[in-house]
Amino acid sequence: MEHSEAQKRVEAYADNELAPGAATAFEAHLETCADCREQLGTVMANRRVLADALDPGAAPAALRARIAGITSASARPNLAHRRAAPAWWLQAAALAGVAILSSGATFAVLGRQDGGRVQTLMDAHVRAQDPGKAIEVVSSDRHTVKPWLDARLDFAPPVTDFAAQGFPLLGGRLDYVEGRRAAVMVYGRRKHTVDVFVRPSGDGPPPPRSADRRGYHLIGWRKGGFDWWAVSDVDADELKALRQLIEKDGADHSGRS
């Protein structure tokens, strides 16, 4: 390894971030170069000093107790109990072109068997309008979104961008449906977003076929070993169009891995 190459790798080596081959080559250069040895010594010594100097210590016990109290007392809160949103929340939601529900707003109580699940999915869509929450991996590239989801799930959700058909992929996130992890692909539709939940079909009942609550629509279907739900405030017909795209895409890809 050249000296100039080695210089660029001093920090990565000190951070234990060089690949094994590169680390070996770097070490071979170190044997011959006092300059690089000195630099490495400095970087490593500084790291030790900083680890101490920059450590503000553990979280205060009172803070720990306070958070433990909040999180154990309230199970995952639903929309009805959410506190008034801070200004930046409203601003970001407005920027995203999302209908804002006033605090205390709640969906109609549902009598049907699917009611609870419909509610859960719609809540998930609405609360996901929090900034930093709606999309955890922001990318229109399925080659970025898919590995991100795959790495966090025990199944591999199909991910496709439908920008050409008017539903650009904006990104993805993780969420829970009935206590089980689901992948969520977020698509744009003009200034609105559509959340598409997907998880492997279990033993449970198939997804509700459709539901409408307070301007939000949901459609569900079971296909290709997965349960799917699309939730949004766009027209139900537009959700159906997206469903067709997804189903067609699934058929096109079946037989391939």
Binding site: T42, V49, R76, G132
Partner: protein, 172 residues
């Protein structure tokens, strides 16, 4: 109970630079995280939680700094870069040996660095997180993490040296 809380607190302390603000930040982040996940355990959850803390901090900082008019970090970074150029050769080797007895100076110098520099420094030096985790927390590519971390270390070292000289500690 409450995994990664100490790590979240240390990051929040360096972002907010104020005890009460840091505690608020951590509390908000945990309550938010709690809504979406049943468990926060496991090493996978650490970058994710840290990301919530920092996103919360940056969205708050941005709304306070004039409703979205805050300069993007590229501008801040360019400015920091220029300052670094004036102070030293940013591509030159790191030769400033910091000393444990300069802890107070180091903390003072750290507090004056741009947010994004403090962030990578605390994640790397205190939390010992890998580059790929830093990339996940900060939402930038690994190459950017590496150059940002390197700049942050040099700038911190240079500032500590200057402050130490001004305080009459003598040259390094």
């Amino acid at each position: 109970m409450l995994p990664h809380l100490d790590a979240a607190y240390r990051l929040a302390r360096w972002l907010a630079r104020d005890e009460a603000d840091a505690e608020d930040l951590v509390q908000e982040a945990y309550v938010r995280a709690w809504r979406f996940f049943e468990t926060l355990r496991g090493e996978d959850a650490k970058p994710w939680l840290m990301r919530i803390v920092r996103n919360q901090w940056f969205s708050r900082a941005r709304s306070e700094a004039g409703r979205g008019k805050m300069a993007p970090f590229e501008a801040v970074e360019a400015e920091a870069e220029a300052a670094l150029q004036a102070e030293m050769d940013p591509d030159g080797p790191e030769r400033r040996l910091m000393r444990l007895e300069d802890q107070a100076l180091i903390r003072k110098a750290m507090a004056d660095l741009p947010d994004e520099f403090r962030e990578v420094l605390v994640l790397r030096e205190v939390e010992d997180m890998a580059y790929r985790d830093l990339a996940e927390v900060t939402g930038v590519p690994i190459g950017t993490v590496m150059s940002r971390l390197s700049r942050a270390r040099k700038m911190l070292g240079e500032r500590v040296r200057r402050m130490s000289e001004e305080a009459g500690h003598g040259a390094f």
